[in-house]
Subunit: 370 residues, 2 copies
């Protein structure tokens, strides 16, 4: 099975893939929280709205140790469907991809070695229009940019992923605050995308922010954003300045990163791709291609073509019904494992299943018991 789907700008996407063979690579996963995720109905990236605050830290604890440290179970949806971090972990392990965690403002600090951005902050609910201080948005960007500049020579390509429950809602907020007509275009971790709720939240925030819409990405983030997208954009800026390439590993949220980058004047041609999953591409309730076309038409999109419909595990079959879809850089990391280390589809599929099997056997899965 051909694991890669060239979704948008196929020719440029293939050029990127060609240039990436045997490249040195490093992955970074940015974590942070926004209290927006605690608004009932916004996020299923956690068993309950309150638990979504723990998801970023536990996602990356699992990435590093193969088990949750700060909670009993790995992050799951209310239905018990497991975090996409298990896909990411499988890809990292099989392809031996070095990686680091960057904390931009996780509600709890992960109990693993991780990079701290000094201005780390938990974002406020964006329906109040005051997500985080303007200076903090600026500082997070600059700190992540500095980080990239100091380590960029170590890797030809950086994979940048995220874990921030409520992140599609804040991504919508950032896009709308920057004047993009992105209504109804961001994805969701559940099959029934709560577009109305997201619109209500963003509109409420808009009403309370007299300075919007704006061309200033720091203003947009300060009003309707979160700590994670601005930090990823900052790292992107620093990495591109130093000549590294980037895989933005995520779904529609990465449109917010692209928008921040564009408004900061970054030249994005031939330097990065959006790397995501088939489930994001197939999602009729969102439009990643439309978003990228609108914001940065020069950026290719590539998706990893997982098919879990024949999985022996219910938790993974759920993915084929539109649950979860993407997160913690699952798609982009799988793409990196493919193009840089040549990991075949069947091996990666099997590795994901082994990871899940291990979780179940060790009692860390909430939905499936041994």
């Amino acid at each position: 099975m051909e694991p890669l789907i060239y979704v948008y700008r196929e020719e440029d996407g293939r050029k990127f893939v060609e240039s990436a063979r045997d490249a040195s690579i490093m992955a970074l996963y940015f974590i942070g929280s926004t209290r927006t995720s605690t608004i009932p109905g916004v996020s299923v990236a956690g068993a309950s709205p309150e638990l979504t605050l723990y998801t970023p830290a536990v996602d990356v604890e699992y990435l590093v140790y193969g088990k949750p440290i700060s909670t009993k179970y790995i992050p799951v949806t209310p239905e018990g469907i497991p975090t996409p971090a298990l896909i990411t972990r499988a890809a990292l392990k099989i392809a031996e991809i070095p990686f680091l965690i960057v904390d931009a403002g996780s509600y709890i600090k992960p109990k693993i070695p991780h990079i701290t951005l000094p201005s780390r902050i938990v974002g406020n609910r964006i329906d109040n229009g005051k997500a985080l201080p303007y200076i903090t948005a600026k500082n997070l960007y600059e700190e992540a940019r500095t980080l990239a500049r100091k380590i960029s020579h170590i890797a030809d390509i950086f994979v940048l992923g995220e874990s921030i429950p409520g992140g599609t809602t804040t991504a919508l907020g950032i896009l709308v605050a920057l004047g993009y007509n992105a209504w109804g275009m961001v994805s969701s971790a559940e099959p029934r995308n709560p577009h109305d709720l997201k619109r209500q939240i963003v509109e409420s925030g808009l009403e309370k922010s007299r300075e919007l819409p704006t061309n200033d990405p720091f203003r947009a983030v300060s009003c309707l954003g979160d700590p994670v997208h601005i930090s990823i954009a900052g790292f992107l800026a620093g990495a591109l300045e130093k000549g590294s390439k980037v895989i933005l590993a995520g779904g529609t949220q990465m449109a917010a990163v692209l928008a921040i980058a564009k408004r900061n004047g970054l030249d994005l041609a031939n330097k990065l791709i959006v790397g995501t999953t088939k489930w994001i591409i197939d999602d009729k309730s969102s439009g990643i291609v439309e978003l990228v076309k609108m914001i940065s038409p020069e950026v290719p999109i590539i998706a990893y073509n997982y098919d879990f419909s024949n999985s022996p595990y219910q938790g993974l079959r759920y993915y084929e019904q539109g649950y979860v879809k993407e997160g913690v850089g699952a798609g982009g990391t799988s793409i990196a494992a493919t193009i840089i280390k040549g990991v075949p589809y069947t091996e990666l599929w099997e590795a994901v299943h082994q990871e899940y099997k291990k979780l179940i056997e060790e009692g860390y899965s909430a939905i499936e018991k041994e």
Copy 2:
């Protein structure tokens, strides 16, 4: 001028250098504090005993930004002699070496992006024999080891440096606690090495620790150590496990790291060197070669042959009088710049001077004004 001095095990040292050409490299600087440095007379790595607690954070702020953030001046001795971090920064910049900071327990958090070890802790005065909890020593080791295992594939060689005022005293504590007769062998940042005071402190701690001497390195660190050496040893363990090589960038303190590594059963042959400065080698008040011979005779020592005697700056000429000598990986980072990127001696000498000139011009030097 030949910049490298093969101090010990020349043949193995040359083999290491040969194998390192064109290697991928990353540097990590471990910072942490021990309240031992606040005992008057122990440390001159700060303008006053209390200020030594700020030195690690400000050293690495300077590494990243080229200026201090948390204090007005860069760290200096009471005489105003500048931190060796300026040598490190010059070498990092000229050779474009990617680097990260690891906080094992700095008294203040550095205002730069940095890796946090979850068990980070400020060490207590070791004259009480209770430097840090046993479990914390173990956790720091394991956390740093995990960090190394997750990023090791990014680099063929890791340069590991330190900034911990009072570090030669805690290094002596660790060595003595492990049963080594290391009295009078550790170095000092001042020409008159306060061996008597160090002995008093360590003996006081020894008397209060009934479990010493011990073969257990975690016990030794827990009683008479600090958060930094155990963390560097943990990283060393993880890096060697994964096949990376290491330059232990420091002076006699690195003997404590070697001792911890040996007691944990690590095989150190043909995998690492101690990289230091000429000033450590020339120091008649300490014995790095004797220490290495006693602890790990298989490990070569290489020194960088700086000569600042004709420097136009008083602060740098002081180095030739036995002040400072080493720190923040100054020697090892200079060696890395030489063997991996081929930076000539004159260029590095000039780069150090440019760095210092900039500091003076911008008013961050306490001793020299423009």
